[in-house]
């Protein structure tokens, strides 16, 4: 009972960090956190230095997504001759917003016409920028892309299980407050019954109890009960107001057992995840504004509608053969440069003949692509705001739609609004992918209507993007596991004579644009070193 703190090995990481922080300041704390695996944020370290580029040196870039355009922008600015080949007829790749008037044809030939009102959009791919994705934020700033806050955690959005509380959605605020309150009460009880004496010194005991009272909104007797303290967290049956009608009526916490059974506690921690911590941002007008701005900046350096069919390197350079997709059957074209930075998703690159060594070829073939589906639903009015006071944020559900995302912009407007009606991964995403776009939208309405009954009367139109049906990626993002990373990741990223790869698939921030940006910067830094070492054009 009294051997606590006698062994330094028993120090938790948190305790260790606290000691380091107190004794050595925040810089040392940050270093230590990094060493311990915390705070492993984007490796972006400011604008890349590519000074001293050999005169006339050229780079062929395949793909005008975030990775390709980051590289093209920096290499061009450094004096390299750059050209970019892009399969789509637009810049951005997965950085993309669908707006009214857009047409999207997925693999299989299913065509959808987006009929959203002006200003409204769906981001089929990325939709948020964490505050620590410094590379993306940097390029938004440099390109003049305006950002606004993206609401990740909304205490008034829902956590929903079709198996709990009669299928009635619960406010995030209430689930969080009640979970925290009950856990704090249990811990306080254990502490006061001396059950934690092994772990907590006598001098810390009172501090722990006070912190539990604060954390859990416990009353003077360390109980989580109906009253002022819990009401201040979970909200009220009748909110406090002014005058004679303003007296509040407290609400009753949910019972612990039922709360644990519901599983809804699993949705509490969303905003604690490093990539989802507040604040996050989004480009004003849709995520696609970033790709559009990059595309404008690079102008004629990008050749659109170019489908790469072969990549061949020799001792002096790299040649890409490609087809102009607007002229089917026309003769193949070629582009050639000293070096090639290829950002084509591995799902597609694995099928393109390219003479690289066995290690890189094996790495390219080792990464399957994740299934994901997003569905945008336009409604005649913003009922989630008008009826339910939900302004931005996300509802999480066990229904196959998984998420309902509320727009973090255009609040309080009278017109129509677009919800993210589904955002799905895994087996359910495969199932949605297998449907026609119309079926996907109908399903999203059926399921979402269980949470928002207004769906039935207010629905206007919708659009559904299943990433495995995307002609330009054939999947959402590269899926690694520990074994495949250990065996192939370095081989994927190494320069193979004159060819090197970049993209989210060549990063440890898979599925995030920041992975694409930082992998591009890492790649062109190494390419530059090699180009400088080789001197002038060979």
């Amino acid at each position: 009972m009294n051997h606590h703190r006698s062994e330094s090995a028993a120090l938790s990481r948190r305790q260790l960090l606290r000691m380091i922080g107190v004794s050595a300041g925040s810089a040392a704390m940050y270093q230590a956190m990094t060493a311990l695996g915390f705070a492993a944020e984007s490796p972006y370290r400011g604008p890349v230095d590519l000074s001293g580029a050999p005169r006339g040196a050229s780079v062929l870039i395949l793909g005008a997504g975030m990775a390709g355009m980051t590289a093209a922008y920096e290499l061009r600015n450094a004096g390299y001759q750059v050209q970019v080949l892009e399969y789509n007829n637009r810049a951005g790749g997965r950085n993309w917003s669908l707006r009214g008037g857009d047409t999207y044809t997925e693999l299989g030939g299913f065509t959808q016409h987006c009929r959203f009102d002006p200003e409204l959009y769906l981001n089929p791919g990325p939709w948020r920028l964490p505050y620590h994705h410094h590379g993306m934020l940097h390029y938004c700033k440099r390109l003049g892309v305006a950002l606004e806050p993206f609401v990740q955690v909304n205490y008034n959005a829902y956590l929903h299980s079709s198996h709990a509380y009669g299928g009635a959605p619960q406010r995030y605020r209430e689930i969080k407050a009640d979970y925290q309150g009950h856990v704090a009460e249990l811990l306080a009880k254990a502490t006061r019954q001396n059950a934690l004496d092994d772990a907590v010194s006598k001098e810390d005991r009172e501090k722990l109890l006070e912190s539990l009272r604060d954390w859990g909104a416990l009353d003077s007797k360390f109980a989580y009960v109906t009253g002022d303290a819990s009401g201040d967290r979970r909200g009220y049956r009748k909110k406090p107001g002014g005058g004679l009608t303003g007296r509040p009526v407290y609400s009753d916490p949910l019972q612990l057992g039922e709360l644990l059974d519901s599983g809804l506690w699993a949705g509490i921690f969303q905003g604690d995840t490093f990539d989802w911590q507040s604040p996050l941002f989004q480009p004003v007008g849709g995520m696609g504004r970033v790709g559009e701005a990059f595309g404008r900046e690079l102008g004629t350096l990008i050749r659109y509608n170019a489908k790469v069919t072969e990549i061949h390197q020799d001792d002096h350079g790299v040649t890409a053969s490609y087809e102009d997709t607007t002229r089917p059957g026309a003769a193949k074209l070629t582009a050639r440069a000293d070096w090639c930075l290829c950002t084509i998703p591995l799902s597609i690159l694995a099928q393109i003949p390219m003479n690289v060594g066995a290690p890189m070829a094996a790495a390219i073939a080792a990464v399957p692509y994740g299934a994901a589906v997003k569905i945008g639903l336009q409604f005649k009015r913003r009922f989630w705001e008008q009826d339910e006071s939900i302004y931005g944020g996300i509802t999480y559900t066990d229904l196959p739609i998984a998420n309902i995302g509320y727009p973090s912009t255009g609040y309080f407007s009278d017109g129509k609004g677009v919800l993210l009606g589904a955002y799905i991964w895994g087996v359910n995403a495969m199932e949605f992918t297998s449907m026609t776009p119309e079926e996907r939208v109908q399903r999203a309405l059926d399921y979402g209507g269980q949470i928002h009954p207004q769906y039935h009367d207010e629905f206007d139109n919708g659009i559904a993007v299943a990433w495995h049906r995307s002609p330009f990626t054939m999947g959402c993002y590269g899926e690694w596991n520990d074994q495949s990373r250990a065996r192939h990741y370095d081989n994927l990223c190494q320069i193979d004579r004159r060819i090197l790869l970049a993209g989210e698939h060549a990063s440890f921030i898979g599925g995030w644009q920041e992975g694409a940006v930082t992998s591009a910067l890492d790649a062109i830094g190494r390419l530059h070193q090699r180009a400088v070492a080789q001197g002038q054009r060979t």
Partner: protein, 150 residues
């Protein structure tokens, strides 16, 4: 993608497990109920997302192989090995169900792999008369069982 962070995907997975849900809607499967689905269902709910409703495949920047009339399907071993171990873009459906990827794992049992291979080899104009058996498929190299039980 693009959007969902690695950790976020982890969270969703945890959510799905904790809620233990998606099970009682016949249109959709939980990871936990996928084992109840047969070859035809697997094709129409999973495979056809890429290989298309009539096995016709598709062409974009890359392509999804056409299964209708694919001569390589003469070998059930070939088909089963690809389903079990994946190929390029295509995930390994025979990977251990608890293998941690950057996204949720979708695992098919040996019986289901057998079933879907036999389905594809006998539909879309394919008329192979030598169906694979589960016992034969189980012998093909693939990682199969949960890591935890190994």
């Amino acid at each position: 993608m693009s959007a969902a962070p690695r950790y976020a995907r982890g969270l969703l997975l945890i959510c799905a497990l904790a809620l233990g849900a998606r099970a009682d809607d016949s249109a959709f499967n939980a990871v936990s109920t996928l084992k109840n689905v047969d070859g035809q269902d697997i094709y129409s709910r999973i495979c056809q997302g890429c290989h298309m409703p009539q096995g016709e495949g598709a062409v974009g920047a890359g392509h999804y192989p056409r299964l209708a009339g694919d001569p390589s399907l003469v070998s059930w071993q070939y088909a089963a090995l690809i389903v079990l171990n994946g190929r390029n873009d295509m995930p390994a459906f025979g990977a251990p169900p608890d293998l941690i990827w950057d996204g949720p794992t979708v695992h098919l049992s040996d019986a289901q792999v057998t079933d879907v291979v036999n389905y594809v080899r006998s539909h879309f104009g394919n008329k192979y008369k030598d169906p694979a058996t589960e016992a034969e498929v189980a012998k093909l190299p693939h990682s199969g069982q949960p890591l935890a039980t190994k």
